[in-house]
Amino acid sequence: MLYRENGQFKTNYRADQQIFPILQDRIGIAIVLLIAFVLVPLTAPEYLLRAILIPFLILSLAALGLNILVGYCGQISLGTGAFMAVGAYAAYNFQARIDGFPLLLSLLCGGLCATLVGVAFGIPSLRIKGLYLAVATLAAQFFVDWAFLRIKWLTNDSTSGSVSVAGLQIFGLRIESPEQKYLFCLAIVAVFALGAKNLVRGAIGREWMAIRDMDVAASVIGIRPMYAKLTAFAVSSFIVGVAGALWGFVYLGTWEPAAFSIDRSFQLLFMVIIGGLGSIMGSFFGAAFIVVLPIVLDNLPYWFGIPVDTALASHLTFMIFGSLIVFFLIVEPHGIARLWSTAKEKLRLWPFPH
């Protein structure tokens, strides 16, 4: 009833091809953006912003990047943590070595460095497929872990391998309070999400999906696998690199290579799978699920007033986390995004049955 497209006729191709062709969708997105940009920073408590919303935004950006590679192009990658690390450290080097280098530019340059590394480690994908590729990308993960611990130049000669940034500002505006950090991340995520959505709707996105579905058939009809796969790696690593730079600069402030370890890679892969492969919305759903769940599980005993030994609580968190992953995969292997689109389909008919 509310979601019917009745009467929304398009009169030109441009209108037909827009991202949100249904008016209700456009209104919905506008409301979400209004809440996100205006209401949340004004009313949210500091803990919510600092510990939940900011990591959610940054990790959803990284999940977006990974989704492009795994969900849209079908190349399983377990080295995402490494690309985040490259982005973070590269951005740090630009920021620290060049006085007065604008923050936004350092983030983007960090992303570009991550792109170069991503394409380099993506070259094996031209020959290796599937699970073999997944394990091979772990080479990237461990190599980058080692490089940032060992090669002093990369960490600006810090003796401990730990680097930090302070005094972030953009166009003269300081980025220090949780609200400012949140808005900064939100702006970047919004821009990137829009860009990614348009990319996957375009020719290159279709090439990726063709490679994912049947790469031999795709090359038969003229899609160059090298171009498609390497551009997927490039775009994905760029986004992941920027996310990594944001993670280090905005969320952590000080970081060491262990912040981007293999656990981060697995976490991002979880987000993408649970959220839904091949779906931009799915990255956000997955990130929300994975970011909020451990915090909820950790704090549950306190909310119910049950004093639980912290070791037991952590182990239980692990157990519940694992079981929920399995449960989710059984119930909806295509992720939350599929649940969402099913719900929207049902809404289009509601209250009629068919």
């Binding site: 262990a258 915090i295 912290t310 070791a311």
Partner: protein
Amino acid sequence: MKISSIALAAVALLAAGGACAQSKEQFFPLLVYRTGPYAPNGTPWADGKQDYLKMINARDGGINGVKITYEECETGYATDKGVECYERLKGKGASLFDPQSTGITFALTDKAPADKIPLLTLGYGLAASQDGSIFKWNFPLMGSYWTAADVLIQHIGKREGGLDKLKGKKIALVYHDSPYGKEPIPMLEERSKMHGFELIKIPVTAPGVEQKSAWLQVRQQRPDYVLLWGWGVMNSAALKEAQATGYPRDKMYGVWWSGAEPDVKDVGEGAAGYNALNLNTAGTQPKVIQDIIKFVYDKGQGTGPQAEVGSVLYTRGVVIQALGVEAVRRAQERFGKGKVMTGEQVRWGLENLALDQKRLDALGLSGVIRPISTSCVDHMGSSWVRVQTWDGAKWSFSSDWYQADDQIIKPMVRSAAEKWAGDKKISKRTPEDCQS
């Protein structure tokens, strides 16, 4: 989350925040790790901290009548979880943090000054933070990795018959590849230049559970001494590999975080002869441990198993919390006895600790640690440490008390601190600021 509940939560938090200052309880956040590869060493430390607080409540009724509350938060030695725990607990009126990890300390060193909460990093953390004139909020009490490395070289020199006899010798550092393990390297390189020994650096990828290559390298290089800078599972794995490659354990020296019971118990006889530094005495004799047994364990309130009470890391946890409580007490002497202290006030307390032997006796810490007194420029307070040796069944002290050589340490600390200040654009504290 609905907006009304967000708003309500915001109001409630603000009210709670305001109320905390007036509440009659001193809150101690306890960042711990009881899971993960570092749990074997993190657990007794955490138990010691909690038991001491329970004892103070049970025996004294709190600090001058102010009851102590505490909450544990599991970090798993991971920096991001540590930061998340910090953010969650600081709002409850936390007056000092002991992150139990050098990595987390690095991350919090930038946040703590803004939030005005001091970091108590006894025996770990940034070595340069000993300089209180730049690191206002960091307190590496009783030692840092530079003092540890310095003392080890002094001891080895003494064993060789003089520091000049070190010329031409080889000393290998088998270290945990993380900020913790890399921290002593500048000091060791400095000393290797001074005395002419060759420093061989052998990193072990965290968590250090498989070390065969590292020890094959040790066997290849045949160093005269091996310094072990490990944590958690890495320590016992190192000793097992040392045994498997036949390196004499009595030529191995560990830092004070590599010399506790979990590190050697399951190697047993195979680790006999291994030496390590120890900042504190262990055992169930000291009065403070006896009090804990009497007021906490005898009432069935103990945090861990009673067999653990009095072990090396447990006692160190007790010492850390005792110094924290003493800082609160000292702050109360200035800012109001019987009142709840804020982070800034506790910071002053940490900066003006004056524990002479008499005070140590009163606290029940006599024989556990040596007198310690901090000041505005010296946030370490004391660097007394001894070497202990494992004989297959227990630890026993095998050397006199050493003190770090300030002639070498102080210039290095000063230049490192100044470099930090330059990078972060922090200015040196003024004499007036020292009095506040």
